[in-house]
Amino acid sequence: TTQVEKMSTLNEKAIELLRDLARSSTIPAFDEEAVREVTQEINDRDQEIKEILTKERHRIRETSIAVFVHAQHAINLKNKQCILAYLKNRLNIIQQMRWELDKEIPLDIQRLLSQNEGNFLQNYDKLLGDYMDDIGVELTKDLHVSPKYLFIQVKVEEECQVGDKTLRKGTLHFVKTTDAEPMIRAGLLTHVE
């Protein structure tokens, strides 16, 4: 019965972790605890498998034993897949932030990342920078506004610098698309159609 009970928990924890991530609008805090728990689950189950294989060595060819070991191992693989998915999806969000915000990742978001994620971000930033230098193309420019028009109309949300002019809050201006684009991305200007 205890074995059946254990099996019914399957990989609920790992799935819940992924659900939380999917539910969140930006990115939730890295759940160190949950990852640790699932890791423990995998290791415990692995230990059980080892014990079964040694204790029941003589029964290894019996279907019930073989199926049980197989199923347990499959649960472990599933758990591993879920945690890797959790990690990778978070990295995807972090990468996207680097593209959208350049180097300006707000502090309150930085706090939500694990130590390892912080390191990843730094190294990813360097990797991207090196590649862009290598090919001589600034890839993070013009992410959202294609220079279909040379000049566009913008509304100033926060005072900022565009080209060589300082624009005051609340004013409307007709500016060069490529000059305005970083400001639009940062939310300081809005594109007026």
Binding site: I42, N43, Q81, L87, N119, L127
Partner: protein, 228 residues
């Protein structure tokens, strides 16, 4: 007389403009075509080394031209300003297309990094610099997964990212996706659906919505282009 000379002048102008225009559209068309194909294809396509080189040179040429055209004084400034604006627009347009092309590919590489790692042939579609990026990116991922999780697993055989048991960790391109194609030449009878045995007689310029897989080779051969 005067009008005839004028007509001849117009003809000359039109010809030279047309040839310039033809050349300009040609390179823009080619990069946009490469860009769209890359954008809408589920798989990474062959890297267009020659095209990107040509485009980079063209952009530099244009920038050089613009530098030469810098106005000397106030009077020249107003006279040349419209022309400079057009030159700037051209540079922006070319740069944007080039940028989009590289960017689309890079994002695809990141998404499909496991396929690239596992499949030698697939990896060959990357440029040398992209290969370097892919390797470094993979190392970053591996390091992160190890540090955050895998190293804490007691069974060393579970720590691998690429063994055969974990085939489902590898992200493969989705060849079942539907794409919009345009035929660049007459293709004759093409089987667009193997299960239903559906064939279509495709003429030059035809636009169709089909599954990617049956037309994959046609794209590689340059006989079709992707529009969506």
């Amino acid at each position: 007389m005067a009008s005839k000379a004028f007509e001849e002048e117009l003809d000359n102008l039109n010809d030279s403009d047309a040839s310039i225009a033809e050349y300009q559209t040609s390179i823009i068309d080619r990069i946009n075509s490469a860009l769209f194909n890359e954008r809408w294809s589920p798989e990474l396509l062959e890297f267009q080394l020659d095209l990107t080189k040509e485009l980079t040179e063209k952009i530099e040429e244009q920038l050089e031209e613009m530098k030469k055209n810098l106005p000397e004084n106030e009077e020249e400034r107003t006279r040349k300003s419209l022309f400079v604006k057009f030159q700037q627009m051209e540079v922006d347009r070319l740069s944007y297309s080039l940028r989009s092309y590289f960017r689309t590919r890079l994002l695809k590489i990141e998404q499909q990094i496991s396929s690239i790692k596992v499949d030698e042939e697939y990896r060959e579609r990357l440029s040398d610099k992209e290969k370097e990026y892919a390797d470094r990116y993979w190392n970053l991922l591996e390091k992160h997964f190890n540090d955050s999780f895998l190293q804490n697993l007691s069974n060393p055989r579970l720590r691998s990212l690429t063994d055969e048991q974990q085939e489902n960790l590898v992200v493969r391109p989705n060849f079942n996706r539907y794409v919009i194609i345009r035929a660049k030449e007459a293709l004759g009878l093409v089987e667009v659906d193997v299960d239903l045995g559906q064939t279509v007689d495709i003429k030059e310029g035809d636009v169709l919505l089909v599954r990617y897989e049956p037309v994959q080779d046609l794209l590689m051969e340059g006989k079709i282009e992707l529009l969506g």
